[in-house]
Every structure is written in structure tokens, then in C-alpha cells.
Subunit: 419 residues, 2 copies
């Protein structure tokens, strides 16, 4: 029998849509990876009767309940009281959490209010879960047939507590109930649509026992996740490797990384392997390509900088694009992109440079250069190469697509040069 887990988010802010329930995706994905079946996600208000009704229902349906929210210091935070009442018991201050709070407050010279004392309480029958990133402890408690975990609603606090305190207990619990063992891998892909990927992977799991594939699009990249559940852990890992080999054969260089590897990290790896340095000349992206490439630490090792030449005067004045190139071919043209890239390489002193100039929209399109038209150039040790793409979607989507395309040109520059 699969172990069923249900998620409960408590709070008016989520219920009314003032904030998105991102906690649910974080928790659900990890529960699913552990091997739990997710039965339901619910969001209810701060009202005690709503919280109570949800818990009464879920304890009859699920083996595990993960609840978030309602543990704060204010009168709106009712979770502890509702659970205590449901168990016909009282509450007490969790000593370690109280001590940690006192220490924290005295360090910062804050005064404690009675409300602060509220938030370190847990129900008598509960076991406290320490909050390494905040004040209010979580707690776990038996609710009817279900093991229930109550966590803070603040994502930073919840994520730390869930990872450190809940995941090990849930993994142990599943092992005890004889659940299957699990291995997963996620491949990250750039440059292919979902239906194209789907087509290339058709039948890849035929005859592969205990395995499922899951697709996720996070425009403009795609993620393919393999989940293998088998009674034996070594078998599960071997299945992952077998599917990995087949998947790489079918997809090729569209795979830029696996699991925790990000797109900027893949760009960094490819350039550092060649001891290359990088610069951008950006127009319609306004700085986005540089922003992505520096979003992870360590960019100093290969990234020189960018010239964001939004105005034509900056293209000519800083990058040395010839005014007649812009007059003859337009600011959005391969000849302009070429001179922008060569200018960026020269002024930033990099070994490789990529230029982006396009029409992000919504205005500025022309019959021969509709909105979404973006011209690129990449120059390096060899010949400069130019290309033009037409991206779909609104301004934001076009800009993201253009920046990723530019980064991918840099990532694959040394591969494609060899061919």
C-alpha cells in the first residue's frame, strides 16, 4: 500500500491570493521523490473551525500530514491551539526554543512581548521541531491514523525545518513500512520544445521496471526527471544509469546539466575548460545576459563585463559600430551584431564575446523585422559567426529567450568550432 501524504497550508494571505503557495510545490516534490503518494493539497483560512475541519478530514485520509503556517506571534496564529483542542490537551512553552529566543532578543537588545511567548508554545503531546532560521518551533504529533508535522509558513524557515527535521523521519518511516527504495535523476535541456523532447524520448521506458518520467518546462529550458522505485537500491541506481545512457544518445548536446547543475554553471564550465573569458554586447536584453551569467558566484574567473548599448550612440561611441552599418542595415541586423560583438571583445579584453540586438516589442516591429526578431554574433579566436532568430511571446519572453540563446552560443562555442 502506498503511503499517502496530504498538504495543508493555513493562512488568509495564501487563501486570498496575496501570496502564492510556493511551499506546497517545495514540499510535494520532495515527498513524491521520497516515495509518498500525494493525496491532496488544501489551503484554508486562519479561522480555527476551518483549520480543525481540514485536520479532521485529512487525518482520516492520509498517513502523513504536512501543515504550514499559523505558528507566528499574532492573534491570527491559531494552529497550536486548534491542535491542542483537537487532542483535548493543553500547551506549553518549548524550553529550547524559549531559550534560543531569549538569547536572540538579548543579542539584538529587543524586548520580549507576551506575543513572543505565544509563538514558542507547542501542544503537550507534540514533539518540538527546532527552527534554525527563525523563532517559532514546529512540532510533530499523532492525529488519529496520521503522523502530522506542523511547520512555519515563512518559506526560508519551513524549507530548513522540512529538510533537516521532516525528511529524515519520513524516509525512515517509509523504510519501516517496507516502501520501495528510490533513485532519481533530472536532466536539464536547452534548445528543444517539450513536444520535440517527448517525441525523441518515446518508448524510452519500455521494459524498464519501476520507472516513471516527468516533464517540466521552465521557459526556455526543460527538465526531464526520472523516478525509479525498486525494492533494491542498487537496482534503482543501475536503472538510472541505463536510462541516462539512452537519454544522452537520443538528446545529445541539448542536455546542459543534471540535478543541481544550472545553466549559468554550464556556461561557466564550458568557458573555464578552455581558459576563455567572456563579454557581452547587449541591446534589447538591457543587461539580462550579464545578469544571468553572474547570478552564481565564481563568474569573476571568466566574465569580463558587458556593454549594454541600448542607444545607437552607445553602439557607435563605446563599441565602435560604424554609423553607416546602422544606417545601411539597421540596429537590428547581423552586420551590426557582428560589429557589436567585436567591439565588446576589444573594449572588455575578453577572448570570446557575444552580441544581442533585437526587437523585444511590443512596439518597434516592422514587416521584415517583426517583434521577436533578434540578431546575434559571436566572435572569438576564429571567425565571427552571426545568426538571426524569431522568438515568440511578449517582451519578457523574447528577452529571456534571447539572453539564453546568447549564453548557449558561448556554452557551445568551442564544441561547434571544432566541427
Amino acid at each position: 500500500m502506498p503511503q499517502r501524504a496530504a498538504l495543508l497550508a493555513i493562512g488568509d494571505e495564501v487563501l486570498r491570493g496575496e501570496i502564492s503557495n510556493t511551499n506546497a510545490a517545495f514540499i510535494a516534490e520532495r515527498l513524491f521523490d521520497l516515495g509518498y503518494e500525494i493525496s491532496e493539497q488544501i489551503v484554508v483560512s486562519d479561522e480555527p473551525q476551518a483549520i480543525r475541519a481540514a485536520l479532521v478530514r485529512l487525518r482520516a485520509e492520509a498517513d502523513v500530514i504536512i501543515a504550514t503556517g499559523g505558528l507566528g506571534p499574532t492573534e491570527d496564529d491559531r494552529t497550536v491551539d486548534v491542535v491542542a483542542e483537537l487532542l483535548a490537551t493543553g500547551t506549553h512553552a518549548d524550553e529550547p526554543s524559549l531559550e534560543a529566543m531569549k538569547k536572540r532578543f538579548s543579542t539584538h537588545g529587543f524586548e520580549m512581548t507576551p506575543n513572543n511567548l505565544r509563538q514558542v508554545r507547542i501542544p503537550h503531546d507534540g514533539r518540538a521541531l527546532p527552527n534554525a532560521a527563525g523563532i517559532a518551533p514546529g512540532f510533530m504529533v499523532r492525529l488519529g491514523g496520521a503522523e502530522a508535522f506542523f511547520l512555519p509558513g515563512v518559506p526560508r524557515e519551513m524549507e530548513k525545518m522540512f529538510t533537516d527535521e521532516v525528511v529524515p523521519r519520513l524516509a525512515h518511516r517509509l523504510a519501516e513500512t517496507g516502501g520501495p527504495l528510490l533513485a532519481t535523476r533530472t536532466w536539464h535541456l536547452y534548445g528543444m520544445g517539450e513536444s520535440h523532447i517527448d517525441h525523441r524520448l518515446a518508448g524510452i521506458l519500455t521494459g524498464v521496471e519501476g520507472a516513471t518520467l516527468h516533464f517540466r518546462t521552465s521557459n526556455p529550458v526543460n527538465h526531464v526527471k526520472l523516478v525509479v522505485r525498486l525494492p533494491d537500491a542498487a537496482d534503482a541506481r543501475a536503472t538510472v544509469e541505463k536510462v541516462d545512457a539512452e537519454l544522452r544518445k537520443r538528446i545529445g548536446p541539448g542536455i546542459y546539466g543534471i540535478d543541481g547543475e544550472t545553466f549559468p554553471a554550464a556556461v561557466a564550465k564550458a568557458l573555464r575548460a578552455q581558459e576563455a573569458t567572456l563579454a557581452f554586447a547587449e541591446s534589447c536584453t538591457g543587461g539580462l545576459a550579464g545578469e544571468i551569467v553572474t547570478s552564481e558566484a565564481g563568474a569573476t574567473a571568466f566574465f569580463r563585463g558587458s556593454v549594454v548599448a541600448y542607444a545607437d550612440e552607445v553602439k557607435t561611441g563605446v563599441l565602435g559600430v560604424k554609423p553607416e552599418t546602422i544606417t545601411d542595415f539597421g540596429a537590428v541586423s547581423e552586420p551590426t551584431a557582428r560589429e557589436m560583438a567585436e567591439g565588446a571583445k576589444r573594449v572588455c579584453g575578453s577572448s570570446v564575446a557575444v552580441a544581442i540586438t533585437g526587437v523585444a516589442g511590443p512596439a518597434g516591429g516592422a514587416p521584415d523585422k517583426p517583434v521577436g526578431t533578434v540578431c546575434f554574433a559571436i566572435c572569438g579566436p576564429g571567425t565571427t559567426r552571426t545568426s538571426t532568430k524569431l522568438f515568440a511571446g511578449g517582451r519578457e519572453r523574447v528577452r529571456i529567450a534571447a539572453a539564453y540563446y546568447a549564453l548557449d552560443l558561448a556554452r557551445r562555442y568551442f564544441d561547434t568550432r571544432k566541427r
Copy 2:
């Protein structure tokens, strides 16, 4: 009696956390603004019995149900069949949707498959809701005591259909049931923490009838939303204006806009009012300030460009920072920021320029310049001004905080110069 609305999301991808349920926040916020009370949000799997159980429960609890997902072409898309079964009726193809699909397919030269025919079906008792952004129509149907709306799960399609087809019907419905009339305003704030705002606004609604205030933080900006529900629309609007005047008195220039006004739009407005042009010199932000300022169309009117001087050689070579300034004071220093700003103004030919140079982390901190230290300079027609800030949080948070701070310097430059 308040009208109660419940949200149901159908689909394994959301349930398992592969995608976040952002639809719920979109819908809930608009329902709440219309004047509905949100009773619950639920996410269930694609399984017919799970969908059925959720609908049976919600039709007894809510006056309005908004369901999303499960309307696609695949075998996993079961919503139409479950609803038809629940109503003991059959399904038929919605003619206008079928015609639109045929036209769309013949334009692109695609062939229709039997699966495509599946997705234009609706239950016999339903009224179709056209899908202006996709293929599958939505539908509305009476389920017990509730009016239920079934919409596609793809956000772009759902948002269009909800806005065009559902909102007018729900507003009409509420007016008919004699619900209160509503006026809202949202103020967008920069440069103040939530607790600081809370403190300044304490008691602002004392004696103000039918009004509630809601806070939302979207780091580093905050949003304060006023919702007024009164029997008379003119009274509701007058209350909004009254609170607006008081709120502006209490908050001052920290308010950068209301309702649909964005932060980059506020920057654009302030600069264009002075016929000023803008350039950035960015280091640790990698291009983010330029990216934000160009995220909305129309930046061409005032934004010249940026020099992203990530490497010190770009600071000296392109921006003309003196090597001894970096040697003597460091790359992260006010003297370096000053020369960066002045260099960006000169090479980009702008009337105002802002420089950002800091330690975004996680590495690179020093005792006198810990991670989060960012130096700024702004130069324009008058004297160059420099400042240093220490931002909290990880790399991403520090970079966002630094970019917003730089944009705010530009936004307030002409105000503060006058003082």
C-alpha cells in the same frame, strides 16, 4: 451572507509539486477583490474519483467553484467526463471551438487527431466559455447549489478566460445577490521594512467603515492594499481617496506608485519629467539594473545603456577609473563608484549616471567590507554623490537590493537635488 468561492486545481503536475499552483493566487486575489469570500483552495490528482469527490464536497460548501486543469487532449484529461457523469448527462463538441480549432490547424498545416476532438467537448448542460488563447473551451455549469466554472490549467489561457468570461459574470452575480460594492487601491512602497510601514500606518483605519488593509512584501518593495466594501459605490470611492490622503501624509516619498504602476515605470516617469537620460555602471549586479529599467517598453526614451564592469580592467579601460583609485581604496569603495558613475555618464552620453560596486557574496567579504556591502555613486548636472549600504541576505537578495537602490537614486535624483 457573503458569497463563498472555492478553488479547485486538477492535475498531477501541480499535486506532485512539479509546477507551482500560481493560478490559485491569480484567481483568489481577483475573487477577493470582487467581494467574494474564499472558503478553500484544493489541489487533486487527475484521477476521476479524486476530482469527483472534490466537486461533491465543494458544491455543498461554496456558492461559486472555480476549477482549473484537466481540459487538454490527452487521456489524463478527465474533467469533462467527470462533470458529465456527475450530472448524469453526456458530452458534445462545442461548435464554435471546433470551428476555431479546424481553422487554426489548417492555417498551420497540422493534421487533427481524435485526441484534438476530445478537447473541444463540453457536458450537455454546460455553457461553453471561449478560449481566446488556446484550443480547449472552458465551460460553466450548475453543480448542486454552486455555479461552477471550469477553465484550462495553462496560465495564459486561464487568465484570459477568467478575465474576459468569468469576472463579468461573477460581478453581475454579486450585484444581483445584493453584495456590497467595492473600491480598492494598492500603494507600492520602496525603502521601508514591513514593520516600519505597519508602525506608520497604525490606527489609520480607526473609524473608517467597511475598510481593510492588506500587506504584501515582494522584496525589496512592499505593497499596501486597501479594500473598501460599502453599500454605495460613491461612498466606497470617497473612502479610498480619504485613506489615500492620510497614507501619503504618513509615508511620504516612499510611495513610488499605485495600482498598475511599476517601479521601472516610476523611474522612467521621474527622469522623463526632467528630460533626463540615464546610464549605469554596474559591477556586482552584472547588468540587473539595466535589465530592470528596460523590462518595460519605452525605455528608449531615456535609457542610454550601461557598462557592466565586472573585471577591474573594464572599470579602468572602458570607464576610465584610475588604477590607483582601485589600488588605494579597493574596487568596492565610494571613490571607485564615483569614477565609475562619471565614466558611464561620459561614455554613454547621458545626463545622469548611477554606479554600483559591491560584494554580492557568498565569497569576497572582508572584515571592513562584509558580504552585502555595496557602494553607489550618482552623478548628473550637479555634484556627484556617493553612499555605502550593507544589504542582508544571500547573493540574489543583495543584487536585487542593490539594483533597486540604484534605480531609486535615479528616481529621486531631481527631488533630492532641490532640497
